[in-house]
Symmetry: C2
Subunit: 471 residues, 2 copies
């Protein structure tokens, strides 16, 4: 699909050194962005072009993301021939989607035809069915077939991510045959880091890193150079699992095989790093209930993701309130209880969140299995006891001094109980959700919060009554 | 340093397909781990060896991590010749450190000499100065010099991460010259994905992907194949920045240069994916105050990281308590205030955490700069108003029905105020810390929590008094 050149020397502009457009973190300087904005405002397209022209495609994409929606459209029009497929591929999903929706189907089809399969799929997979059909109708039959086949795999699987372009050769070649074959085929991809050796059924039987080929004399058979053992990625494997394999086995590229074991595509690590980043970063967002958490996400999506979670937490807060209500008489009698009770709940909540964050991450990294869960629970119990003891002493002494020693004792005991309960909830809730095949990052927070809040109030107020502090 | 073979066919065992040792997530099955445990318990070393022998080094590392410290040592002894440098390199930092500390210096030196520079550095960088010196003293002078030079760079910089082994050639070579050079040098690394072209001062002037070399006829000069523009990594660049460059520019490898611009090493993406994963995943841990959050971290480190944060939050909780104390008389008069006030604080806290998670991530991804901060603040203000309105209606009606309409009005108004304040705090606190060059993930939580807690109580109780609900 992508036409590639034999000598790719000029096909891409990378930033050699930090130019004056960049700050020390390699972000575009506000002053630079402002001058682009000014050029757009003055409708000085050639000035805008001149400013943007030296940038790497990834930086042009960054620039577009920094601009408002109107400015984006103006800039895209002003620099239309710099709006290459690389720029489109580098854009944030939401920004790309909104820009693509504004283009006619024929223009999108033209861009898609220039992209590698995986980027072309990404370009159109989030569009409405109708828009997708319109764009596919404008494409070459061959390209259309490839895209349709990719779209037939579920979202976020290897089949969606893979490139069809790869180098696969039969097992009877020598190193010299392979080099000649590569030199003779002008329309082949240049984006490959290993060569796959296949049998007559097109099943992969081995793989050669390019460095191995370059280091060997021409007469050596590929069978003697290749490594037989390789990590094969099933076409329906989830992208998170793919990312973990790449990381665990330090892969640069990997063969993707269909159900019958035929080589159907390859995945390269430069496409996977985005997924590693995404999957590793999303837990913080999921645990806070912030949904996708992308600053380019449309307002209504951000609202609907977040409000759902706030409503769920309203439910847990009401449970906590109901517990407080049970102790209304005690609070009326001793208002210091109302003053102090949020401290117990708040610290318990923090302790629970800490343990939950650690557990969710260990699960995501495949570090926590049935084989070591007991060890982790014991470890967290010990940490919770140490934390509980420390905080209990601090708050107990302060309360004893400001209020009464008896109240100090009650809050200290409640604190120990709540930190231990929270710590255990922080481990056990995600573990249980994981065993039920639910994403622990999404589901755990609401339950852990409910437990830590309710238990904080219950332990403190309950102990106050039970010890006869209030009657 | 690492001796590599011309034909690496046999130098590594990768898992071709999921064997029976693995579950559907490619984790070692508990039953498999148990059978290893049983073999160790029965002191049946040959059985343990037989079980472990088919595993990939990365899986042997996983297995060691799943075992307890005693079991680890027993297994390492039982499978000593499977404990290759690859296994050591794949081990979790804490597990490696504890295992290495148990070995004599000469044994560690021997392992280090087999590793690539970057792995050897990782092996010894976390040890005590004394242990480091003892190990270095046991090494070859050449290897020692390389390690000492790497250790001279600050931790978590490119200088620590880079491999010294790379392929750099002068600019006057042709493709054929390069291939001959690669074939003639047996002791060269096979771990390279591009060739760096350097001038007489050893400054990089261009780079060639191996696929480009394989696709060109022998007589073509490298100057015509290479790409001049490339991303050069300064030796003192922070690893987080390095990871962002690799991701942004889709790099497979990159040249590392010293202050004078000389090529001193290379970084390859398989070493960077761990950092991308680490840096992206650590924000959830940092925001919760869980420190490193590694389940293998020693107990005292986990305790000290977490308790510090709990004590800080004890401080913020005390501020919130002080605000409640100001309204002691009002609570005595109307105990429903004490029942409902945690709801306002809790939902505000959640709303603040959501916004903070989104902002911290946008900052980490270099998506948020001065150029679009205003836009994000406005966006978050809108989301907060929508969320505030929704939750206010729900809690307002429920409170009006259960308690009084007036109390319903007060809690609804307090909820809107608190969600908006929390949303703004969630954006502005991390942005301010970022501009002060503090890590927003670490510093923001305590401040956002303080603002959301205090403001929740103050808005609710203050409004109750101000509206004359209580006197």
């Amino acid at each position: 699909m992508a036409e590639t050149e034999l000598q790719p020397r000029e096909d891409e502009d990378a930033v050699r050194e930090e130019g004056e457009e960049f700050d020390e973190d390699n972000r575009l300087k506000p002053a630079f962005v402002d001058s682009v904005r000014e050029a757009l405002e003055a409708e000085d397209d050639s000035r805008a072009y001149e400013l943007v022209e030296p940038l790497h495609p990834a930086d042009i994409a960054d620039l577009l993301e920094l601009l408002s929606e109107t400015e984006r459209r103006e800039l895209a029009a002003a620099i239309s021939d710099l709006m290459t497929s690389e720029v489109i591929a580098e854009l944030n999903d939401y920004v790309r989607e909104s820009m693509v929706e504004a283009l006619p189907a024929a223009a999108v089809a033209e861009i898609a035809e220039q992209l590698d399969t995986d980027d072309a799929v990404q370009l159109i997979e989030d569009l409405d069915d109708e828009d997708q059909k319109a764009i596919l109708a404008e494409m070459d039959a061959d390209d259309r077939a490839i895209i349709e086949s990719a779209l037939s795999y579920p979202e976020e699987t290897a089949g969606r991510l893979m490139q069809r372009e790869l180098v696969a050769v039969p097992e009877n070649m020598t190193v010299g045959d392979l080099i000649d074959y590569l030199r003779d085929n002008d329309d082949m991809t240049t984006e490959f880091w290993e060569v796959f050796i296949v049998d007559h059924r097109h099943h992969p039987i081995g793989t050669c890193q390019l460095s191995w080929i370059l280091r060997c004399p021409r007469h050596i058979p590929l069978l003697d150079v290749m490594k037989r053992d390789q990590t094969l990625i099933p076409v329906d494997m989830d992208q998170e699992e793919v990312a973990l394999r790449f990381q665990k086995y330090a892969l640069i590229s990997a063969a993707v095989v269909d159900e019958s074991g035929r080589l159907v595509g390859q995945l390269t690590v430069d496409d996977i790093v985005h997924i590693i980043q995404e999957e590793a970063g999303e837990d913080a967002l999921l645990m806070s209930g912030a949904g996708e958490g992308d600053i380019n996400e449309p307002l209504r999506d951000a609202y609907s993701a977040r409000v759902r979670w706030l409503v769920a937490n309203l439910g847990t807060a009401v449970v906590a309130s109901a517990i407080i209500a049970m102790f209304g008489a005690a609070i009326e009698q001793l208002v210091a209880l109302a003053v102090l009770m949020p401290i117990v709940a708040s610290i318990g909540g923090n302790a629970g969140t800490q343990t939950m964050a650690v557990t969710v991450r260990a699960i995501a990294m495949n570090q926590l299995t049935r084989s070591n869960t007991r060890r982790l629970v014991l470890r967290e119990l010990k940490v919770a006891m140490m934390n509980g003891a420390t905080i209990a002493v601090l708050i107990g002494i302060a309360t004893a001094l400001i209020f009464t020693p008896q109240l100090g004792g009650v809050i200290a005991a409640a604190m120990v109980i709540n930190i231990i309960v929270s710590g255990m909830a922080g481990v056990l809730v995600p573990v249980v959700f994981d065993r039920l095949d639910q994403d622990p990052a999404v589901a755990s927070s609401v339950f852990v919060t409910m437990i830590t809040d309710s238990m904080g109030f219950f332990a403190f107020l309950g102990l106050a009554v039970a010890t006869g502090l209030v009657g």
